[in-house]
Subunit: 318 residues, 2 copies
Amino acid sequence: MKYFVTGGAGFIGSNMVDRILARGDEVVAYDNFSTGRREFLEQASQNSSFTLVEGDTLDREKLAYAMQGCDFVFHFAANADVRMGCEHPKKDLEQNTIATFYVLEAMRKNKISRIGFSSTGSVYGEAEVVPTPEQAPFPVQTSLYGASKLACEGLLGAYAEGFGYTVYIFRFVSILGERYTHGHVFDFYKKLKENPKSLHILGNGKQRKSYLYVQDCLDAVFTVIEQAKEKVNIYNLGTDEYCEVNDSASWIAQRMGLEPEFTYAGGDRGWVGDNPLIYLDTGKVRSLGWKPKYGIRDGVLKTVDFLENNEWVFEVRR
Amino acid sequence: MKYFVTGGAGFIGSNMVDRILARGDEVVAYDNFSTGRREFLEQASQNSSFTLVEGDTLDREKLAYAMQGCDFVFHFAANADVRMGCEHPKKDLEQNTIATFYVLEAMRKNKISRIGFSSTGSVYGEAEVVPTPEQAPFPVQTSLYGASKLACEGLLGAYAEGFGYTVYIFRFVSILGERYTHGHVFDFYKKLKENPKSLHILGNGKQRKSYLYVQDCLDAVFTVIEQAKEKVNIYNLGTDEYCEVNDSASWIAQRMGLEPEFTYAGGDRGWVGDNPLIYLDTGKVRSLGWKPKYGIRDGVLKTVDFLENNEWVFEVRR
């Protein structure tokens, strides 16, 4: 079995690469290194079953060429900059929607028909039903990021119907753990290193979020791929708990041995389109026998430990 | 009040142009004439409140320039070739998703914040709940057309949240009436003119569809715009009835004074991604006081009458 992983040098992608190699399979990592890091693939690079191709998902030709001979695609490359959508609305369209179209077309060219896709709980917008199940009422989008991921899901569904693909759509909560380089734990850690006495929090700190540890996430992904039997398989992935941003900030500070004062930007959300509560009903994936080994607090602490041991991730690259 | 209508020379668009002029407002019709017809704008052209701009929605600069001074955008231009999505998957992405992004960006440039958008009942995929309400369970897409319209809806929602737009999303059933030049009535009429003795029907003829007469549709659009008060206003538009393709074929033949034999391609759907039943719950728009004046049979007969009086629409253009 040979896998193709877009965003293979990224947080979730590089962990997936290592997981695939640990399973004894082959893998091609495809990444443009806009946010991915070569360091995350150091271990993989020692393995003869690993191939790295530096390329952009918007480079159709290279993408299709690199995919040759693969059996399964994990499409994880994306603009994950949820908060800044309104600053550059084109980014989500291009790097998520259009790039996913190119991935699906490259698969068609290479006669590959199975794909696992990293969607997001953001597609539920401001969910009316919480915890939110996969069959929630048809949502209204509230962010360009969520809208672009929904557009990708739609493309996957249409390719499943039109071209016989089997698709696995994973609606993630935020993922935490080793190689995490983007999001609130990263931001809080960085701010606290700069100023250990005070931490400024977007919103009122009461936004509730759910998180999942990356290895639990990968366990869930393979559980679904091995057991789900539909053309279009859609699964929420998350923990059955949530925390407030305040909780998370306290855990981070505590792990760093700090006692900062919290200050707040105010309002019930961190940014335009931010959802005060993303909390998914994970009954569907649990019904396949999966459950997370780690809770949210574990995930936050593991992430802090990773950042403490890898402060090079904060260095600005040129 | 000055309106901007993309697809302004098309079936629904040109009827909207006439309606706007009849209301005493100004209108700019924007059309690339790929399927729109200059003949549909002959009457409008006599009116000093009417402006025609020939342009493509993918031509960002021209689009933004043409939109100057307008207050409200009706975005009706689209690839409406639902059936052929798999022959050219890029068409729906470009002409629907990306074009809609350009329309939204052109509005931003011109500080226009209100838009009415022609979505489709196809976004419900193979609906589990029938008649299907706006709040149906989160659907799986089954066609590239539906997926692209869903992507557009997502963009509209995100722009409403992120940029303060007010958006009106209309999920149409198929529309019938004067200037109809695309769809089963057109195809059946054309086939029966070529061979009055026999009519070949895709699928088994038992696919059930709902249709709405174009003037009823426009009544509903203005009812919603005048009364709905949300940032994102989503309304199904349709009649509270459906017919089988067989019924419709019989009405068409009868109106043409023919008694053809029906033959069938077989299967429970007309094409890949076709939904055997699109039938929308229109309780939401009815609650605003709107109801259709014409039933499906009326709409079919009016369409046949239009085609009989305008056979030039069948001429192949160069």
